[in-house]
Amino acid sequence: MSLLQVRDLHTHFISRNLDNEIRVAKALNGVSFEVSRGEVLGLVGETGAGKSLTAYSVMDLLKPPAKVVGGTVEFDGRNLRDLEAEDMNKLRGSEIAMVVQNPRSSLDPLTRVGEQLIRVHTAHTDTSESAARARAIEKLGAVGIPAPEQRMRAWPHELSGGMAQRVLIAMALMNEPKLIIADEPTTGLDVTVQAQILDLLRELVVTHNVAAMVITHDLGIVAHYCNRMAVMFAGRIVETGDVETVFDNPSHPYTRTLIASTPERLKEGKQKVLGGGAPPNLYNLPPGCHYVERCRFADESCNKPLSLDQVGDGHFAMCTRLDAVREGWPS
């Protein structure tokens, strides 16, 4: 049984235009995926695809005009969409923890690091202040911060980007979460620091048996740190499977283009990649496949509703013309 099961999630931005007519931007259009304990799922896709929005929808952290309008989010046997706000608050930061891209902005600049760690813990448990303090020091040590006792007194602005990201991970660990969602956890950090942070994350998944979802643009991170991957395009998962399976056998035309665009494949020089294109208009999405305007294999059949179909062992793709794509793709 997966720890987190997301089924057919729909999130819309609902607003009014100048003429007071209702406008709906359909940002998530039936997102389904699951994550189990002990595994890392990589969520990839171009900017605006809906990766962060998926995370915020799962965590119930959307701000108006964004709203989840359909689907289920099952976590550890509960449907999170049925939970009262208060219960959801409890869950967040304890059972599910989130690590975001810009670590400094998610730390309170006016509160010392240690105090922030302690608060996360005491807010969710009945632990004493001193026990929480001991725990905070332990977690800072666990994420590789030297001299953790002294660092407890540091202000957020005194931390480098890498250090701030470690503090955020330490904070995520304060309440022994079952699931960690990391949205671009190393974007903007140097490769040497990136490696330290990702190693830390993987170690947690393995030794603490947590489930992790990593949102990233970087297929190198997916290739070396994730077990499974899900490729997102215009608010849908268009392909998912084991990382090696998807890299060896990308099926959806978008996934194929993405993988062919990596420096490694470009270096092989096998084919010219046809660059991206504009994302579809979320206010007026095509009736069937969202990739239709950028796809060289599109025909009439692509305007029908699609489903994520099995193409191999644990490998699914959302495209009605997989055979034509397989045959016609330049090799």
Binding site: T47, Q196, G220, A223, T257, L258, T262, R265
Partner: protein, 326 residues
């Protein structure tokens, strides 16, 4: 031996912070050469001084010390007016195409501005030239009448490149030109740069922290650490047989986008020190796994490796003990 198009000699830039009066030693005696038609990739962690070097090369920034000889003339001491005359020959493309363009100017105007300043074309000749440039960066000419806000990131970066090549410069500095772009868009831009290099014969200084991209486009590599070049050499040599311990560990931390490549890593601890508190001696000594006492006494000189095309600054190279165990 052909003369280099550009020779940077002991290029140095120190900033003094206004509030505290501390000295930021951003670039400390950087020397390299660039030849016509060559793409030089410059890599290094953030804060290593890449952008500062790039800006000095095109004289958007005046060096504190050192010289930049471009087409046989030292441009480092030039005054602003003389620099402006050089602009058509020395161009720069920035990381963030959103903020690099004037949002109130149509694309056509943006591309033709450098032509207005630096050439004496008639209106209709200029118009033709703009369309020609737009086509060469594979920008649909329909987009010429649009404003930047109406274009995607990839299209905007094409506009920036179009503006940079409009006056057929001899040298273009590209500072992280693809870092803010999505993978498939990035591939299109890299492809374009490759084509332009063949068409225009311009030399390019390609700055990036993305090792995969640098490897793809560069003939020659410069590795920067704390404002020093610690290694330089032909692309394949530096990537396949990195000599400096920093280059070795940097390359080992890179994640190729292929799950089947085996990683052999030596992970560095800690982070790049601040250029305000430069360590004495070798700039890498605070993190180097091979450090020994004498590394901290003097700045290691660049030494030749093999035939001298590749060079690195580490005292262990001569005795052959410079390999970091991976």
């Amino acid at each position: 031996m052909t003369e280099p198009l550009l020779r940077a000699d002991k290029l140095t830039k120190h900033f003094v912070t206004p509030r505290t009066g501390q000295t930021v030693r951003a670039v400390n005696g950087v020397s390299f050469e660039m030849f016509a038609g060559q793409t030089v990739g410059m890599v290094g962690e953030s804060g290593s001084g890449k952008s500062t070097v790039g800006r000095m090369v095109v004289r958007l920034l005046k060096p504190t010390q050192g010289s930049v000889t471009f087409r046989g003339r030292d441009i480092a001491p030039l005054r602003d007016r003389a620099v402006r005359a050089l602009r058509s020959d020395l161009q720069m493309v920035f990381q963030d195409p959103w903020s690099a363009l004037n949002p109130r100017m149509r694309v056509k105007r943006i591309i033709q501005e450098p032509l207005l300043l630096h050439s004496k074309l008639s209106d209709s000749e200029r118009s033709d030239r703009v369309e020609e440039i737009a086509r060469s960066v594979r920008l649909n000419t329909d987009l010429l009448t649009r404003f930047p806000g109406e274009l995607s990131g990839g299209q905007l970066q094409r506009v920036c490149i179009a503006r940079a090549i409009a006056t057929s410069p001899g040298l273009i500095v590209l500072d992280e030109p693809t870092s803010s772009l999505d993978l498939s868009v990035r591939a299109g831009i890299l492809d374009l740069l490759q084509e332009l290099r063949e068409e225009t014969g311009a030399a390019m200084l390609f700055i990036s922290h993305d090792l995969g991209t640098v490897r793809l486009v560069s003939d020659h590599i410069l590795v920067l650490y704390l404002g020093h070049i610690v290694e330089s050499g032909p692309m394949a040599k530096v990537f396949d047989e990195p000599a400096h311990p920093y280059t070795q560990t940097l390359l080992s931390a890179h994640l190729p986008a292929d799950p089947r490549t085996q990683l052999h890593r030596h992970l560095l601890e800690g982070e790049i020190p601040s250029p305000i508190d430069m360590p004495p001696g070798c700039p890498f000594s605070t993190r180097c796994p091979l450090v020994r006492d004498e590394c901290r006494t003097a700045l290691p000189p660049m030494v030749d490796i093999g035939d001298g095309a590749q060079r690195a600054a580490c005292i262990r190279i001569r005795e052959g003990s410079n390999q970091v165990p991976l």
